[in-house]
Symmetry: C2
Subunit: 268 residues, 2 copies
């Protein structure tokens, strides 16, 4: 893994075992698509990271510093840049310290192009309601880990997660959209899950998308369902649990517009 660790803006050889990112998940992360060293959605990711850092009371390094560090790491082809920002080191105890934050940048191969629409599992692990953290891409992700492990046990690559009221919030690593009465709907990220960067770009591209509470039954009766994330873009869904979905012309049309606007997500 091609990786750099910084304490403030100082390179350090390794992560401290006293880092609060490890101790408490006290930080945030971003996962960015890069193509030939270019990061098409850098600004949107930076906006979310700095907004999240403000909510948690973490002061991030300068945007230009992190962007330059990322540029030094990236090469040719399709890659994924992962950026972790933590509150830095501290002694034992939850009380936040005033030291410099830690930034960890790493570069990974981009996933292979999707071969086929996704079959989703209905995850039993719920998304907890936590207004203080909803929408943030923070490092407290045990719910997602447990939900993803469930999907693996039933042989599916992704799954939908609901809150305890039974409303669909997200997939384990993506946002979810459902076509209901010919209108695309997506859950409110302020009530749980991550406010995805791809989701935000889709909401900007298609203002007709409605943000609304969606029950499991509404998903099962939807005309079409898709997932989005900032590495894979738009992903068709052809099955949730036992419910099958036919190929959707509305999905194809929206995906064409998405790829025309964001050509970095076009494959082949």
């Amino acid at each position: 893994m091609n990786v750099r660790v910084f304490r403030g803006e100082q390179p350090v050889p390794a992560l401290s075992p006293a880092d609060r990112g490890l101790a408490y998940g006290d930080g945030l992360f971003e996962t960015l698509l890069a193509v030939d060293g270019d990061i098409p959605w850098w600004h949107a990711h930076w906006r979310r990271l700095s907004t999240g850092a403000a909510r948690l009371g973490i002061t991030p390094p300068d945007e230009a510093f992190l962007r330059s560090a990322a540029d030094d790491l990236l090469g040719q082809g399709r890659q994924v840049l992962k950026l972790i920002l933590t509150r830095g080191e501290s002694g034992r105890g939850y009380l936040p310290a005033d030291g410099p934050p830690t930034s960890i940048l790493s570069v990974h191969p981009a996933p292979a192009a999707e071969e086929a629409p996704l079959a989703l599992h209905w995850c039993e692990t719920p998304v907890a309601r936590q207004p203080a953290l909803a929408g943030l891409k923070h490092l407290n992700r045990l719910e997602n880990v447990l939900a993803r492990a469930e999907c693996e046990r039933v042989g599916r690559a992704e799954g939908l997660m609901c809150d305890e009221q039974g409303y669909v919030r997200c997939a384990t690593a993506a946002n979810v959209f459902a076509l209901i009465d010919s209108v695309w709907h997506t859950p409110d990220a302020a009530l749980g899950g991550v406010a995805g960067v791809a989701r935000a770009q889709l909401l900007a591209l298609e203002p007709g998308i409605r943000v609304a509470e969606l029950s499991r039954l509404m998903l099962e009766n939807a005309e079409a369902v898709f997932l989005s994330n900032a590495v894979r873009g738009m992903m068709a869904v052809d099955r949730i649990g036992e419910t099958a979905f036919a190929r959707s012309a509305a999905f194809d049309t929206l995906k064409q517009r998405f790829l025309a606007t964001y050509p970095a997500f076009a494959r082949d």
Copy 2:
């Protein structure tokens, strides 16, 4: 900081930036009191750690291996041993990998003896209801970090956290007990917060303690309130928000029994 990192049972020089403890808070921790190299509650901590690991699907190293590694680190006097267990390294993505777990042992000075009873803050940060994680001492602790930061802002060293239904769950780093109609009560850790080792020892010592839902009003009207954790033992509380509590003979009696049974927690 005196620290050792192991990948499985192999010592490694530093924590990998690809460790899932950092990436997702995918792990657990224990904080143990040691006196002159002895760890009086080792077995209770080990039981909670291995139970939690089973719930998360993490295979811990042998107990004897970790205990021996701890013994190598500990010295004379009062110390705190912190033990972090993570699911180990993996590539990008929530899917758990099958590699060896990571163990991080570190030794810290024990906190100074309490000078005075504690004044508590009513934290605004709620404890999220998450049955999949309730009771575990896992690494997803952003709620506690935000709640502790609140306490600091109002100049108090600890605070009480409630769930969204308004029931008291815990302090930021301790369990809570309230004397109501001459009976000690403590919240059900299966509904949120951490199932504290000191709490378990107290429940075994005094079977009359009732596990029950406690509202904020019940706490404010209680005859006495105290906190417990596995480093500080029993801590008297003389104020919550604006509500003052007089010194309690029932607390003094229970604390005398506690210290007689667990003399490692006696100071001076």
